[in-house]
């Protein structure tokens, strides 16, 4: 390399310098686009096909699969169940995480320990959470029925009944995903300047008014992020459903992701499963946009 003229060498150096950021980003772009981008692209292309039940080939069909999907009662019901699950989880999840975060914020001492307790469910896998709740609500060995019996109530077949199974699913899902929402709200509370509370106390502001007119408005963005997290995690729920109810009884808890999985791996109808994937992605994108706009985060 001693023969290289200084001019060319500095030009080479410049080139290397200009290329550096691209080389650094290269592996990330490659794996994200190659796997995730490919997945979305493949699903989109596949959703424009239609399964021919005679030849078992997927033929190009434009939007025909979407038309069939939107008019199918199975899809409409699954969408409704997803909406029920999301709505139920948001309602319960916000109550649980807001009260947990506020209590942790208020207590003097044991803050770290209580926060750790509130977050432990978050380290558990969806499968483990579901298996534990299934056991908790099992007919003849579950704690819930044992407690009910000790109050003289008749034991309940929680998972054999459509509405109750959905209720158990919402509870399981809330237990599993609300810790992260607690953490988000707590981090918002901790950024509030405590002087504002002193000022409110001097002005004779009641506890409830302080909460409603000072605390909540101040953590509005965090509230928005919590809602994004709760909706996103419940709308795409899959792990938690299979061990608790498996979509049953019947199809009472078959939400969109579970329906997608059944169509793809049991029905081998990839175009229809892919159309559901695209619908899932679009709804996810709209949910995020909606919350970002509403909470101006």
């Amino acid at each position: 390399m001693s023969s290289t003229k200084p001019v060319t060498r500095s030009r080479n150096n410049l080139l290397i310098k200009q290329l550096t950021p691209y080389l650094l980003i290269g592996p990330a772009i490659l794996i994200v686009m190659g796997i995730l981008g490919y997945g979305v692209g493949w699903s989109f292309m596949m959703s424009l096909h239609k399964l021919n039940p005679l030849t078992f080939q997927n033929e190009f069909a434009g939007l025909a699969t979407y038309m069939e999907l939107f008019t199918s009662p199975q899809f409409q019901n699954a969408l409704l169940r997803s909406a029920t699950l999301v709505g139920g989880t948001i309602l319960l999840g916000i109550i649980v995480s807001l009260s947990f975060a506020l209590s942790i914020y208020k207590i003097q001492g044991f803050k770290g320990a209580v926060r750790a307790i509130s977050l432990i469910p978050w380290m558990v896998s969806g499968i483990a959470a579901a298996v534990m709740f299934r056991f908790l609500f099992s007919g003849n060995a579950g704690l819930i029925n044992i407690i009910m019996e000790s109050f003289g109530l008749a034991p309940v077949g929680w998972l054999a009944h459509p509405t109750r199974a959905m209720f158990v699913l919402i509870l399981t899902n809330t237990w599993f995903i609300s810790p992260f929402s607690t953490l988000i709200i707590l981090s918002g509370l901790q950024t509030i300047d405590t002087e504002i509370y002193d000022a409110a106390a001097v002005d004779g502001c009641s506890g409830v008014r302080t909460l409603g007119q000072i605390t909540l408005p101040l953590i509005k963005p965090m509230f928005g992020f919590s809602l994004i997290w709760l909706s996103f995690a419940s709308f795409n729920i899959f792990d938690v459903v299979l061990p608790t109810t498996g979509g049953g009884p019947g199809r009472a808890t078959e939400v969109l992701a579970v329906m997608m999985y059944r169509l793809a791996f049991q029905g081998l109808d990839y175009p229809m499963a892919s159309a559901i994937v695209i619908v899932l992605l679009i709804i996810n994108a709209f949910m995020s946009l909606f919350y970002l706009k509403t909470f101006k985060v």
Partner: protein, 277 residues
């Protein structure tokens, strides 16, 4: 009088704390307790704690067919995919935090927007990809897909941590003749350590607990991981032997809870900062 009332009111907050802690811990304690009960006790004795605690269920799990293989698979895919995702993410995050270059904005969007792609929506296309590469039922398929799904979040968190490292630190290293790698290893990574710790625990948790991919991409016990085995175990013997199912559940949870408790500080700071930007 007012002071006493105040004291009562200040301590009322412990009521919700106790209720909510019970909510968070009951499923775990009930499973833990059942894992020490005998098979019959689960159905007959309706006590909260086991009468004669027995380690039978744990013994059965630890000596069950393939248990150590599943544990090895889980450990292997978690560690390798965490390492790869963190390494890839560090490089990309450094470029985004420190360089101005053409298409920076578009490339950033291409890496970050996939964060909103839910894992379950990738199962079908990736299944086809994996089959066509002949990787079905391999640990490699899990490592690649776990790495890919973790990179967007890792890049995001680390880019924001790197951006807070004062530029003067780096300039000092460059003046001393440090190369790009040396700057990364001796300046950026140590200073941004809380972010890296958060990312590590995030990735390990994702991989250790992952379910849809392992269910779709493995077909035999060879490359199966613990969550999938737990799911199958519940399906096959949940009714006959809840103690074993519960012992298995507890065993899969413990490593993550320990990891979380030791790294709690980083998790709380790092992951939340990444989630709300």
């Amino acid at each position: 009088m007012r002071k006493a009332a105040r004291l009562v009111i200040n301590n009322l907050v412990w009521i919700p704390v106790i209720i909510l802690s019970a909510w968070a811990l009951t499923p775990l304690i009930w499973a833990l307790s059942a894992s020490f009960k005998t098979r019959i006790e689960i159905y007959q004795a309706r006590t909260f704690l086991p009468a004669n605690p027995s380690l039978r269920a744990y013994g059965e799990v630890l000596s069950s067919d393939g248990f150590w293989n599943f544990t090895y698979n889980s450990t292997f895919v978690s560690i390798v995919s965490t390492f790869l995702a963190t390494a890839i993410g560090i490089l990309a995050a450094y470029a985004f935090a420190r360089y101005a270059f053409r298409w920076r904005h578009i490339l950033l969007i291409l890496i970050l927007v996939p964060r909103i792609i839910p894992r379950v929506s990738l199962v079908v296309p990736l299944y086809h990809m994996i089959v066509s590469f002949g990787l079905l039922d391999t640990r490699l398929a899990l490592v690649i897909t776990y790495t890919a799904t973790a990179v967007p979040f890792v890049t995001w968190i680390l880019a924001s941590f790197f951006a807070t490292v004062p530029k003067s630190l780096e300039d000092a290293a460059t003046i001393d003749g440090a190369s790009l790698w040396q700057t990364l290893f001796y300046v950026m990574i140590p200073v941004a350590w809380p972010g890296i710790a958060a990312v590590l625990i995030y990735c390990i948790r994702e991989a250790w607990n992952e379910f849809p991919f392992v269910m779709a991409f493995t077909t035999s016990a060879e490359s199966r991981t613990l969550p999938y085995q737990l799911f199958l175990l519940r399906e096959t013997m949940g009714i006959q032997d809840w103690s074993v199912v519960n012992a298995f559940t507890i065993i899969t949870i413990i490593p993550m809870v320990i990891a979380f408790l030791t790294m709690q500080r980083y998790v709380v700071k790092g992951i939340v900062s990444g989630a709300i930007k």
